[in-house]
């Protein structure tokens, strides 16, 4: 069986053989990259020593994980939570992630204030907060964070379109 739906898993879970393979490949790439590191002039050990030992450690753990999975025999490759096909919950997950990505993209051009306000408002409304409460909390929290961290503690939060006003 390849894919399995279960209530025991929160969202998704590959079996340990898949997990082991993924980390095995990553550790392989990591070790391969160390061959491009220069030597430490006059020393036996250079910048490549530690990444190789650590890469070796990850390889060892990955192999053991794979071995253990094979011995225990055939759990499904991917287990999905039984609700994973319910679009609303999946959308909540995606929206939480999307709002972080939105901050990364928008904070520099727009500035902290509009970005933080939009993220909060959007998430509040999606999660079913009453619109008035959502608006008030979003405004108050954005203003409080900007005032306390931006002005009092002088964290250089991006100013964006409000550059000339602030």
């Amino acid at each position: 069986m390849l894919v399995f739906l279960s209530t025991k898993v929160r969202v998704m879970r590959f079996n340990d053989a898949v997990l082991g393979t993924a980390f095995l490949l990553l550790a392989g790439v990591m070790i391969a990259i160390t061959f491009s590191f220069p030597d430490f002039p006059g020393q036996n050990y250079g910048p490549n020593l530690f990444p190789r030992i650590i890469g070796g450690g990850i390889v060892g753990c990955s192999l053991l994980l794979m071995l253990r999975e094979w011995r225990s025999g055939g759990r499904p490759i991917l287990i999905l939570a039984d609700w994973a096909r319910r679009p609303a919950r999946l959308a909540s997950f995606a929206l939480m992630l999307a709002s972080m990505v939105f901050y990364l993209v928008a904070s520099e051009p727009l500035g902290f204030i509009p970005t933080a306000f939009l993220i909060q408002l959007g998430l509040f409304l999606w999660f079913g907060v009453c619109p008035l409460t959502a608006l008030i909390v979003a405004v108050v929290m954005t203003a409080a964070v900007q005032y306390f961290f931006g002005s009092v503690m002088r964290v250089p939060l991006p100013r964006g379109i409000l550059d000339s006003v602030l």
Binding site: P41, G42, E108
Partner: protein, 332 residues
């Protein structure tokens, strides 16, 4: 990389926009600064460089009437902060403190940036390297130590002070070259800065430390270490008993960790002019002098043009030392 590029594009776009709005230079001259200025510091809060930029910023804030916010952009041996200054919008609202590392890192292939990537504003301080030994060390003078180094087989003696290829490593290389020895005649044990190196010295892990005297101060005061010489043209009035290397060994080698205020290339002329005058006033002020004396920092000043020349010379000197030590490489 894409991120940096995007940010640069945005910033330059903003700069172009600003330039378009403010067309008359007369308005520009009267109007700087009209909002808070970012002073970028490539080193961590609480350190020496941070202290210098904070006192300068505080005095600028007082006389120019706008906040000068110190922003620590640390990491990558200083590359991160130096890049942030160089790639900032040249509108006078992103300035910073640049340090001797900018004359070193491009030789090591860590960055493309070099002293000419900035608009120099003023050199504010330079701390020469000292040579420190353990408090109960048999080497009483720099001559004792120099003789012991010459007598020892290559690689026998160990020194530290900062990371591999850092400023105090170059001081060691320069000194070795001055004594006509191989640059790696004394092995360099890299450390995470001067304070851990001084501790390792006191713990008996290494033979001597090259770092500035103020960085070694607490250990010197505690009698756990002694300073034998400094690599400077003259003695530091704060530490009168420490001779220069020239007067004791006859080696005229000077190297120090310098700090100066600079902005990105193509800084507006009026900003540069205001800053030059302000920094000169600050340098001559009682507050600045008292502050620097309290920390034991050596004061040295050069105006914009002088700072440019100073950096170019420093760049050449570091290049020679780095190449001799086998630490230089062409940027990939």
């Amino acid at each position: 990389m894409t991120l940096i590029t995007r940010r640069n594009v945005l910033k330059s776009a903003a700069a172009v926009g600003a330039a378009g709005l403010v067309t008359s230079p007369a308005i520009g001259q009267a109007k700087w600064p009209t909002r808070p200025v970012q002073m970028i510091c490539p080193w961590g809060a609480g350190g020496g460089t941070d202290a210098v930029v904070r006192i300068v910023s505080a005095l600028l804030e007082k006389s120019l009437g706008q906040p000068f916010n110190v922003v620590n952009r640390t990491g990558g041996s200083g590359v991160v902060g130096h890049s942030a200054i160089a790639t900032g919008a040249p509108d006078g609202y992103t300035l910073g403190i640049i340090t001797s590392e900018i004359a070193m890192m491009h030789h090591q292939g860590l960055t493309q940036l070099n002293p000419s990537s900035y608009t120099p504003l003023a050199l504010m301080n330079s701390d020469p390297s000292g040579v420190q030994v353990k408090g109960d060390s048999p080497y009483k003078t720099i001559k004792d130590l120099a003789d012991a180094i010459k007598a020892a087989p290559a690689g026998k003696m160990k020194a530290s002070g900062t990371g591999q290829g850092g400023i105090w490593h170059l001081a060691l290389i320069g000194w070795m070259l001055g004594m006509k020895l191989a640059p790696d005649h004394v092995a360099w044990a890299p450390s995470n800065g001067a304070a851990p190196a001084m501790q390792d010295l006191a713990a008996g892990g290494i033979d001597f430390v090259t770092c500035s005297v103020p960085e070694a101060r607490a250990m010197l005061d505690a009698g756990r270490a002694r300073s034998l010489a400094i690599m400077a043209a003259e003695r530091n009035p704060q530490f009168k008993d420490v001779p220069t290397m020239k007067e004791t060994l006859g080696i005229d080698f000077q190297v120090g960790s310098w700090r100066g205020i600079a902005g990105p290339q193509k800084l507006p002329e009026n900003v540069a002019k205001i800053m030059n005058a302000e920094l000169k006033t600050i340098y001559d002020s009682k507050e600045y002098k008292e502050f620097m004396d309290a920390r034991g920092f050596t004061m040295i000043y050069a105006d914009a043009a002088g700072f440019g020349t100073y950096m170019a010379e420093s760049d050449k000197q570091m290049g020679v030392a780095l190449t001799a030590g086998g630490l230089a490489k062409k940027p990939a």
